[in-house]
């Protein structure tokens, strides 16, 4: 099963364009320009060259034998190393593509939202590369937690605007970016960082991230001579997951697992498991699963990982959940921190706390896989940004 056609801008009932009328023209423009770019071989050639020479693609597929031994005898775990991209995460796959689209639309001003700062950094990076003005909205609370990323963005010439409304985290940064876009829509392109927002963003971001899945499928076949039994990725908004899943959706025997943040536990209100615990609602321009109260007010999410700390999720994930094609699970802050430490010690790879959720889920499934089976984890980002936080949470003095 593959994803449904998106002529309607929907994935089954999910998705859509629930935005102020002011933005409709920009969404129509983006839809048209993207369709033209998809038909233009020069566009894909330019993007491929940049991904190769600037980002460092293809990213490696790494065997992790010591971690594999913890999962089960004869089970082979492989990591798709998106952490080795330039800027340290998968986010740049999307920001490069969208920056090229902005150029085609004649827009020289770029805005973005960011939580942990990875998407903000990836956006600031491509804006520096193409000489575009860059404004990044970031919750005041997240700016405090991720000071280093704020400085990285500023070094590359971006202006980081603190967001003091609401919960002062990613959802409010997204609100503020949308408010900027409504105000400056004729000159500005909004580079959304995940497979969320109004159509056509969820499919554009998925398409730009699908390079992960294409490479990964080819690499697994070359390396192992077979398809993986299971492909696992963390899900906040869901862009790295959509990117890697895209390569395997048509392979019906490949089990796909999206891992959300269970925060302090699904029994508490402090989690970010939109698909596992939410119900459908309209948020940030599309219909999807959403953490909300009985009155339709969006509930604040919580995760130790700022990149998963989001109450919504991409509409294609909602569709894939209902269709039963992807299994959505959740792991807690504590499990993710253990996996962060485990992968670091066993393999010399510090994962982003986001990606550590996917690793944690695999570590928590003893007996699930038989000897000779292959499990791929999309390691969406590197953990350098999280080292100070992990030290603080584990009481280590650094």
């Amino acid at each position: 099963m593959t994803s449904p056609p998106v002529e309607s801008g929907r994935f089954g009932p999910y998705g859509g364009r629930y935005v102020p009328e002011t933005l409709m023209a920009a969404l129509e423009d983006l839809t048209r320009v993207y369709a033209e770019a998809q038909r233009d071989p020069r566009f894909s050639a330019e993007l491929e060259a940049l991904l190769r020479d600037y980002v460092g693609r293809p990213t490696p597929l790494t065997d992790v034998p010591r971690l594999s031994a913890q999962v089960g005898a004869g089970v082979r775990v492989l990591l798709k190393r998106e952490d080795l991209n330039h800027t340290g995460a998968h986010k740049i796959n999307n920001t490069l593509g969208q920056a090229l689209l902005a150029g085609r639309m004649g827009k020289r001003r770029i805005i973005a939202e960011t939580g942990a700062g990875q998407h903000g950094v990836a956006t600031a990076t491509v804006c520096a590369r193409f000489g575009l003005e860059c404004v990044v909205y970031m919750g005041e609370e997240d700016m405090r937690r991720q000071r280093l990323n704020v400085y990285r963005m500023e070094l590359m010439g971006a202006r980081v605007v603190p967001v003091t409304s609401g919960t002062r985290t990613l959802k409010d940064a997204t609100n503020e970016a949308l408010r900027d876009w409504v105000t400056n829509v004729t000159t500005t392109h909004y580079i959304i960082g995940s497979v969320v927002g109004p159509d056509p963003f969820p499919r554009i971001v998925r398409d730009f991230q699908a390079v992960i899945g294409r490479e990964c499928r080819r690499q697994v076949l070359e390396r192992c001579g077979r398809l993986p039994r299971t492909v696992v990725a963390c899900v906040g908004g869901g862009s790295n997951a959509m990117g890697v899943f895209a390569g395997f959706l048509a392979d019906r025997d490949v089990e796909l697992v999206g891992v959300e943040a269970a925060g302090e536990g699904l029994a508490t209100e402090r989690h970010a498991a939109s698909l596992v615990r939410g119900r459908p609602g309209v948020f940030h321009g599309s219909l999807s699963y959403l953490l909300q109260d009985a009155d339709g007010q969006v509930q604040p999410a919580h995760s130790v990982s700022a990149g998963l700390d989001y109450p919504g999720v991409g509409p294609e994930h909602a569709y894939l959940k209902d269709a039963g094609r992807v299994l959505y699970e959740a792991v807690t802050d504590r499990q993710a921190l253990e996996a962060f430490a485990g992968l670091s010690r066993l393999e010399g790879i510090l994962p982003a706390l986001e990606s550590a959720h996917a690793v944690a889920w695999v570590l928590g499934q003893p007996g699930r896989w038989q000897e000779g089976e292959v499990v791929v984890v999309n390691l969406s980002g590197r953990g350098d940004k999280d080292v100070a936080l992990v030290a603080e949470l584990t009481g280590a003095a650094i």
Binding site: Y18, P20, E21, G285
Partner: protein, 279 residues
């Protein structure tokens, strides 16, 4: 079928002046439901009617008001903090017992969570006449559009300066009551002037619909209201009024006094236009 309350009010406005050349514009205040308190909000709604408002927009607070500026954001957050729910808003609308038509303004999700059919029925029963959804452009959801069309509530459509000529006809399809023209790019909130191309924009809308055209976003002073009234059929004032109500937070009634003065000045301003004749 009897005449819709919103259409009836427009007809009454038209009947007031001596012919269409001297026709006045309607005053359409916006108030956030439950702000600053439920009791003061009800008092403000009644005061708006007494001061000469023709319609009133009542905002249902939403946690993530992405089309609103700081003033209305603060007011909706304050209302939510006081436990204002959709059900409570409808109670307030009923308690206010206004003689002028009420338009409920909100984002889609609180309506979806309440249940679209149930919301439409309960809002009508509470006395509301219209519905304006900020994040619900024409064509975004045919099921919800059909449900509203089949209800007694008029679906007020928003048109923006960026709405293309090609989209305009679609964007007003299914609209009832009036068209709300967003007078400028951006979020709600007071601005110092009125856009110079307002007249051109309003005429562009009149070319595709016979519904009255109200303008809003950024209109805060009587002078701006008078300027907008010269080209449009109605003028929406929101943030300035919400600010006025906040002004009296320390003293009971002081905010209401400030709001009342503003409402009376605005009502006079929309009645004193040197009229541009609709084409």
């Amino acid at each position: 079928m009897s005449e819709h309350p919103i259409a009836r009010r427009w007809r009454a406005i038209r009947a007031e002046g001596g012919g269409r050349e001297r026709r006045r514009a309607a005053l359409i205040p916006y108030l956030t439901a439950g702000y600053p308190t439920p009791a003061t909000c009800i008092a403000a709604l009644r005061l708006a009617e007494a001061a000469g408002a023709d319609f009133v927009e009542v905002g249902v607070p939403f946690s993530d008001p992405l089309a609103d500026g700081p003033t209305i954001q603060r007011s909706t957050q304050a209302a939510l903090a006081q436990g204002i729910t959709v059900a409570r808003v409808l109670e307030l609308v009923g308690e206010a017992q206004l003689g002028i038509p009420i338009v409920i303004m909100t984002y889609l999700n609180p309506v979806l969570a309440y249940g679209v059919g149930r919301f439409l029925a309960d809002a009508h029963a509470a006395g509301a006449s219209g519905l304006l959804l900020t994040d619900f452009p024409a064509g975004s959801d045919s099921a919800v559009e059909e449900a509203v069309a089949a209800s007694p509530l008029a679906l007020i459509r928003l048109i923006a300066p960026t709405t293309s000529d090609a989209r305009l006809a679609q964007a007003v399809a299914g609209a009832r009551g009036f068209i709300y023209f967003i007078s400028r790019l951006g979020v709600t909130g007071a601005r110092p002037d009125v856009p110079p191309d307002l007249g051109v924009q309003v005429r562009r809308i009149r070319a595709v619909t016979s519904l009255p055209v109200a303008v809003g976003f950024g209109i805060s002073t009587p002078a701006q209201a008078a300027a907008a009234a010269r080209v449009a059929d109605g003028v929406v004032v929101g943030s300035a009024l919400v600010d006025a109500l906040r002004g009296g937070a320390g003293e009971p009634g002081a905010g209401l006094n400030v709001a009342e003065r503003l409402l009376r000045d605005l009502a006079a301003a929309v009645r004193a236009r040197g009229n541009e004749v609709p084409a």
